[in-house]
Amino acid sequence: MTQPPEPQLPPQSATVAGPEAKKQIEVRGYSAWFGAKQVLKDVSLAFPGPGVTAIIGPSGCGKSTLLRGINRMHETVPGARSAGEILFQGKNLLDRRLDAVQVRRSIGMVFQKPSPFPTMTVRENVLAGLRLNGVRDQAKLQEKLEWALRKTNRAPRWTPSPPQRWRNSCWSCSIRSPW
């Protein structure tokens, strides 16, 4: 659990964008701990963009921990800490002075396992990010909802299957940020 055999991924392993693409997110010497246990040791890699980057590895090697580090979700685990730098738009996301909530608003995350909010309807789920962040404009909410549902090719009334639930959370994540 301490160290995956190949922590340093080739920077552009599965990137659609060309090699000249700008580095969108750069991880420098990132280490992460759960309590006293170090699970990531000095990871450095760059995500060029715009594009898609895949991180591949056996289960338990720290892929999710790395991703969770990028939008500051790692620190929500009790006893967890991290070190290093993650640069995004010229700022170090790990900087304590940066508000983690602001970081998460601009860097979304979709979990491997969908976890819709159980007491909310599909509409409320998709719009949760907007509404709980204080968007009250009904017209705008409706517009975003329709956009998200169209993206998933869904009629307004449907019961989502698990993969649909997952896509659903993808869209709820991507419409999180209207600014």
């Binding site: 979990f111 396992k113 819709p116 909010f117 709980l132 962040n133």
Partner: protein, 284 residues
């Protein structure tokens, strides 16, 4: 394979199941007996008169417990205002912020002790802290005494139910850039709301049936009084007063009061269950 053993096992199995059934029957007998007896004794005076009139002197059969019913509702209302917000917020604190800290341990311990304190002790405390300084009995004192009893019950149920909300739900909300306080109130507590509500209703039905803490706080009142500054009648204290009196008429009314209280408690319990069923199960 030993077939004798198999048949012995079946026999043991049947005996055990029979014992379980017997235990259920034994547990149900007192329950059914109480319900039946209260209903059969209370039904005589269970009429409109009982619910629209205040107590009358002995010999005058037109008396009722209207003021006690209103008084009980008033006391429960004051208790709710005291107990529900404090209980729920304390429960959220324990589940979300306190966790394993020393202070949280102390709060938890206090809540457990408080829920084990005999209710008459709570009554004495309210008497000393509220009735003495105010120089007279009042619904405030009674309501606060009952509310104090609600706090530990609601705190612990809220804590347990909030803790039951899966981590993934919390993380989904945090990952959307929702601030922690909104995540807790808007997502975590909302997910646990049915269970919390059920805990609140159950604690309500428990305190509605309390007598001891009211004896020297709200005291009793034979007249109409809706002012919380005045001594206030309650079904339980009125039942107590009538039941220890030497008059048959009052005894009958005490039974009817008991029946009313019973229906009230059954009603609240049913409401809790139906509500939880109807809004679907989230957590709890």
């Amino acid at each position: 394979m030993n077939f004798d053993t198999a048949s012995r096992r079946r026999l043991v199995d049947q005996v055990m199941v029979a014992l379980c059934w017997a235990a259920v029957a034994l547990a149900a007998i007192p329950l059914v007996a109480v319900l039946y007896y209260v209903a059969s004794q209370g039904i005589h005076r269970f009429d409109l008169n009982f619910f629209t009139h205040v107590p009358a002197p002995v010999g005058d059969a037109s008396g009722g417990m209207a003021n006690s019913l209103v008084g009980t509702l008033e006391l429960v209302l004051i208790a709710s205002v005291v107990g529900i917000p404090v209980g729920i917020l304390a429960g959220i604190y324990l589940a979300e912020f306190g966790k394993a800290g020393k202070f949280a341990w102390a709060v938890r311990f206090t809540a457990d002790v408080l829920s084990g304190v005999p209710s008459i002790v709570t009554g004495i405390a309210a008497y000393t802290l509220i009735v003495r300084p105010m120089h007279h009995f009042s619904a405030w004192a009674g309501g606060v005494a009952l509310g104090t009893m609600m706090i530990p019950m609601i705190t612990r149920t809220t804590e347990e139910l909030v803790k039951m909300v899966p981590r993934s739900v919390r993380e989904s909300a945090l990952a959307l850039g929702i601030p922690e306080w909104k995540t807790i109130l808007g997502v975590v507590v909302t997910t646990a709301r049915n269970g919390i509500l059920m805990g609140v209703l159950l604690s309500l039905s428990r305190i509605a049936g309390e007598t001891a803490p009211l004896l020297f706080t709200a005291f009793n009142n034979n007249f109409w009084s809706t002012s919380p500054n005045q001594p206030t009648a309650s079904l339980t204290v009125q039942i107590f007063t009538y039941a220890i009196s030497p008059f048959d008429d009052w005894h009958d009314q005490a039974w009817t009061g008991a029946l009313t209280l019973l229906l009230l408690v059954v009603g609240v319990n049913l409401m809790a269950r139906i509500f939880v069923k109807r809004t679907g199960r989230a957590v709890g």
